[in-house]
């Protein structure tokens, strides 16, 4: 286990100190570690357990429950496509299908270049802009195949190095 960067350790300590009981900070700590590692690898889980004084099982219960904590490697951009009633009412063809076909991945899969992971989400609370998807915390509204192509192209043009977990 390689040691965490000092800033991250400080940040985790701050998160834990800010709440009355450490376990209240569990999800925040896991987010912080996910940002560092790219996803919640076992190493990250053990780090979180150490920082929070919880067991890895308790953290696994949380990490596997929530949609935005990833226990498996994901691409640089995680696309949560809304797969719920309102978006189904508004879509022209299946947005979800289109994404999978365009990227050449099955649901939950990551594209070969490691850039995109496509995940279905049960409502992301953006129904007034249906059909919709959420990529790394940003909404993309009123999707059409053309708009999706444009979004993917724009993201591909980004030059940031994807974070990977050792």
């Amino acid at each position: 286990m390689s040691p965490l960067p000092t800033e991250l350790e400080t940040e985790l300590a701050r998160l834990v100190a800010a709440v009355p009981r450490p376990r209240e900070a569990a999800v925040d700590v896991m987010y912080a570690l996910q940002r560092h590692y790219g996803y919640l690898c076992d190493e990250a889980m053990h780090c979180a357990a150490r920082v929070l004084g919880m067991t890895t099982l308790e953290l696994e219960s949380l990490a596997t429950f929530y949609d935005y904590l990833y226990r498996r490697p994901v691409g640089r951009y995680v696309i949560h496509v809304c797969d719920s009633v309102v978006c189904w009412m508004f879509h022209q063809d299946s947005i979800f299908d289109y994404l999978c076909r365009t990227l050449g991945v099955p649901p939950g899969g990551t594209s070969e270049d490691g850039l995109f992971t496509v995940l279905p989400a049960a409502c992301i609370g953006n129904c007034h802009n249906a059909p919709t998807m959420l990529i790394n915390g940003r909404f993309y509204d009123r999707l059409t195949p053309e708009r999706i192509d444009a979004v993917l192209a724009e993201l591909r043009a980004g030059t940031e190095e994807p974070v990977r977990c050792k």
């Binding site: 889980m45 919880m54 067991t55 890895t56 099982l57 308790e58 696994e60 219960s61 596997t64 429950f65």
Partner: protein
């Protein structure tokens, strides 16, 4: 007291009772999966839906989530409720594999029962079933996740009820998975209950896997022999070996659960080494021959040296019938009074610990679970009496403050205050903690001047006990004399072994200690010794060392102990599984165990793995063992004496606490005698001075430190190989020059009698100064109470 009508029958239940429990009182079993008496409701399975036709609640509701209220009219067989439950069971079965023929739960499976009673017999859903990967959860519990119906009983029991955190639910929705973060043994010493709790074959008893269908087993109510609490169990036997032990409900003692020691320590009744035939001077002989020779030799001894040269020694793992028969025989034959305890002091202390349990002060284990402040003195609950830890956990969950004063490092799955004090300071701790809370600080400083680290803990204890409505004290026998005379404070003793209480109740006042017997044997005053179900090498090493001086050593036992090996005459006895009997729990509660199987070699060994020989004129092998009480009675006849027909009943009639009790018809929950209190104040025990060395504290492990458990293969497999591990306070180790680089895991030798026993020394700061903690293994049984300065040295 709400009054309601369920299926046309009126019932009145205490406020807060759920409808499902109210129905149970009428004998109506509403289908359920997630609801369990001990765990309460989760509302997860929707199986217990019933129709409320009139009253404050109307319509279809979950009976486990609806408190009973006045005027409710409930119909469990309303067509709408029946249809609803049929849909639910069909949904639950969508993913459940149809593998009942190879599933160990088959035959005692709640899911099977309720699928059939719910009327679901044809699968309509054509899709694929959800599947999981299983985990290896250690030696006791088998994981088969595909069978799970997500009732959450296991997780609620494991995390909430027991307080362990390495097993629980993961993922969400249809993919919920119960398991650990990764493969590995479950840490919870009560995890065996998962096999009883799980309503499907997801979590089953691993050692009992593929051994037998439950309906093929002989079943009988029994009582656990592996600590002094007397938890109730059901023994299941198949082909003359115990196939499985299950928890048996007793609301006053163990509730619905038992610990893993009690569940997985059977098996000693079926080991090949068990004495199965009588032995005379090392040769197997027919029982009648050994008995005749025994009577002749005893008569000759009595003739030559007088009847006082013969002593009988009773064990602390025998039934009370056996103990009573030994006492009756000694009285009838004029032998020395029978010895049970290591010393007279120990006997008097155990008797006092029971005598103080007057009706207003006695608490049952269940009542400890309901106390609101508990002081535990000299007991490490998880190891000395595991189910006590679970009771304390329940008390703690309800807000009770738990204080444990014990020299050993104590681990418990609950928040508690640990006061690491040596035994000589227990009376001081007791006095301060049960004294006035305002004077506690001053008293603590006065009585424990050299332990300032304990003062805050003692003050908290005094405050908690004074403020509590139902305070309780859990104590070891040695403290009976020091107990405060306060009826508010409930008492619950924890004794050394399963039958310690029985022996204390029955033993005559002039019964010598084993140390006295050893002196008498060494001096030649005792020439013949009859040992009934005891191992001298573990219980009385001093006596074991002088066995060579005896003219006659007779051992009646069901375990292949070294004492059996040293005996001139051996008579094999039956285990509790074969003869049953009455046992007294640590609070004096008398409970009856029934026999479940006949003695005899297990069929598996008789047939060497195959079918046993098909010769019908062949006697069954290994059937010589007989109940010890029966053998003692035969021995008396051989000596021309007549014992009472029921020695226990006869003896009990003369004991004030037991007189008038009908021992032949003990109630289901057992019967706690009403003790009268201490007749005369006990002399305070002599304080042990620690100046000269380290006080020796024996400690139990979860497995295989109790005597029957030592001979149980499965329990034995849980112990760690290698030299015994000793524990010493880090500062004491430093003073002894043992705290250098190798400090944790230092190879040492321990002087035990005239031998040097190799051991490993571990250091701790969570324990008392001036003591050395030694595992209770026969190798180390003969240590002096105070280990001299040279007793522990570097190897």
């Amino acid at each position: 007291m709400p009054d309601l009508i369920i299926d046309g029958r009126a019932v009145s239940v205490p406020k807060g009772t759920m409808v499902i429990e109210a129905a149970e009182r009428l004998g109506i079993m509403i289908p359920r999966f997630c609801w369990h008496k001990a765990l309460g409701a989760a509302g997860a399975c929707r199986m217990c839906a019933v129709m409320f036709t009139a009253g404050p609640v109307k319509g279809l509701e979950m009976s486990c989530m609806t408190p009973a209220a006045d005027g409710m009219v409930v119909e469990t067989f309303h067509p709408e409720a029946v249809a609803f439950r049929r849909s639910i069971i069909e949904l639950l079965m969508v993913n459940h594999p149809h593998d009942c023929p190879v599933c160990d739960e088959g035959g005692h499976c709640l899911l099977q029962d309720e699928t059939i009673s719910g009327g679901h017999s044809l699968r309509r859903f054509p899709g694929r079933k959800r599947t999981y990967l299983d985990q290896n959860l250690g030696p006791f519990i088998q994981h088969e996740m595909n069978r799970c119906i997500h009732c959450y009983r296991c997780a609620r029991f494991y995390q909430e009820y027991c307080g362990y955190r390495d097993f629980g639910p993961m993922q969400n929705a249809n993919r919920v998975y119960f398991g650990r973060f990764d493969d590995g043994a479950l840490e919870n010493p009560f995890a065996g209950n998962l096999a009883d709790l799980c309503p499907t074959g997801t979590l089953t008893d691993k050692p009992a896997r593929f051994v037998s269908r439950r309906w093929d087993c002989l079943r009988a109510p029994s009582v656990c022999l592996h600590c002094s609490l007397g938890c109730n169990v059901t023994a299941l036997s198949r082909y003359r070996r115990v196939a499985r032990i299950e928890a048996r409900e007793n609301a006053a003692v163990n509730g619905s659960f038992i610990c893993d020691r009690g569940r997985f320590s059977a098996g000693y009744e079926a080991i090949p080494e068990r004495p199965r035939s009588a032995r005379l001077d090392g040769n197997a002989v027919p029982a009648i021959e050994a008995e005749t020779a025994l009577a002749a030799r005893l008569a000759a001894l009595a003739e030559k040296h007088g009847p006082g040269s013969i002593a009988i020694l009773g064990g602390l793992r025998s039934t009370m019938e056996t103990q009573a028969a030994g006492i009756a025989l000694a009285q009838a034959a004029g032998w020395r009074a029978p010895a049970f305890f290591a010393t007279r002091t120990e006997q008097a202390a155990t008797q006092a610990a029971l005598a103080v349990l007057t009706p207003p002060r006695a608490r049952s284990l269940a009542e400890i679970g309901k106390a609101d402040a508990v002081l535990v003195l000299g007991v490490s609950p998880l190891f000395d009496a595991p189910m006590l830890a679970l009771a304390l956990r329940q008390a703690s969950r309800a807000g009770a403050k738990i204080i444990v004063a014990d020299p050993r490092p104590v681990a418990l799955p609950l928040p508690f205050t640990h006061l690491p004090v040596p035994p000589r300071q227990f009376p001081a701790v007791l006095a301060v903690a049960t004294g006035s809370p305002d004077a506690a600080a001053a008293a603590a400083q006065k009585r424990l001047p050299f332990a300032p680290e304990l003062w805050p803990g003692l003050e908290t204890a005094a405050k908690a006990l004074a403020a509590a409505k139902r305070p309780a004290l859990v104590f070891t026998p040695g403290l009976a004399a020091a107990l405060p005379d306060d009826d508010r404070l409930g008492l619950f003793p924890v004794l050394a072994q399963a039958s310690s209480a029985g022996a204390a109740l029955l033993a005559p006042t002039d019964a010598p200690g084993l140390d006295e017997l050893a002196a008498d044997v060494a001096a030649g005053r005792v020439k013949g010794l009859v040992v009934v179900e005891a191992d001298l090498f573990a219980a009385a090493p001093g006596l074991a060392a002088v066995l060579g001086k005896l003219d006659l050593l007779v051992v009646l036992d069901y375990l292949p102990t070294p004492t059996v090996a040293a005996a001139h005459i051996v008579l094999p006895t039956t285990t509790i599984f074969e003869s049953g009997g009455i046992l007294a729990a640590s609070d004096g509660r008398l409970q009856a165990a029934s026999p479940v199987q006949s003695p005899g070699d297990p069929v598996a060994r008789d047939g060497a793995g195959s079918h046993p020989p098909r010769a019908f004129d062949r006697p069954l092998p290994g059937t010589d063992p007989a109940p010890a009480a029966f053998l003692l009675d035969r021995l008396a006849r051989g000596l021309g004496l007549t014992l009472p027909r029921e020695p226990l009943a006869a003896l009990a009639a003369a004991i004030p606490a037991l007189a008038g009790l009908d021992l032949a018809a003990l109630p289901q929950d057992g019967l706690r005698p009403a003790f009268a209190g201490l007749a005369a104040p006990l002399p305070a025990p002599l304080p042990l001075s620690a100046e000269s060395g380290l006080a020796v504290i024996y400690t139990d492990a979860l497995f295989a430190t109790d005597e029957p458990g030592r001979y149980a293969p499965l329990a034995q497999a849980q112990t760690q190989a290698g030299p015994p591990v000793l524990l010493l306070h880090a500062d004491d180790a430093a003073a002894l020059g043992l705290a250098d680089g190798l400090a944790d895991g230092l190879a040492v030798s321990l002087e035990c009698g005239n031998r040097l026993v190799p051991a490993t020394l571990h250091l701790s700061r969570a324990m008392a100064r001036g003591v050395i903690v030694v595992p209770r293994v026969p190798d180390l049984a003969g240590l002096p109470p105070i280990l001299g300065p040279c007793g522990l040295r570097r190897r």
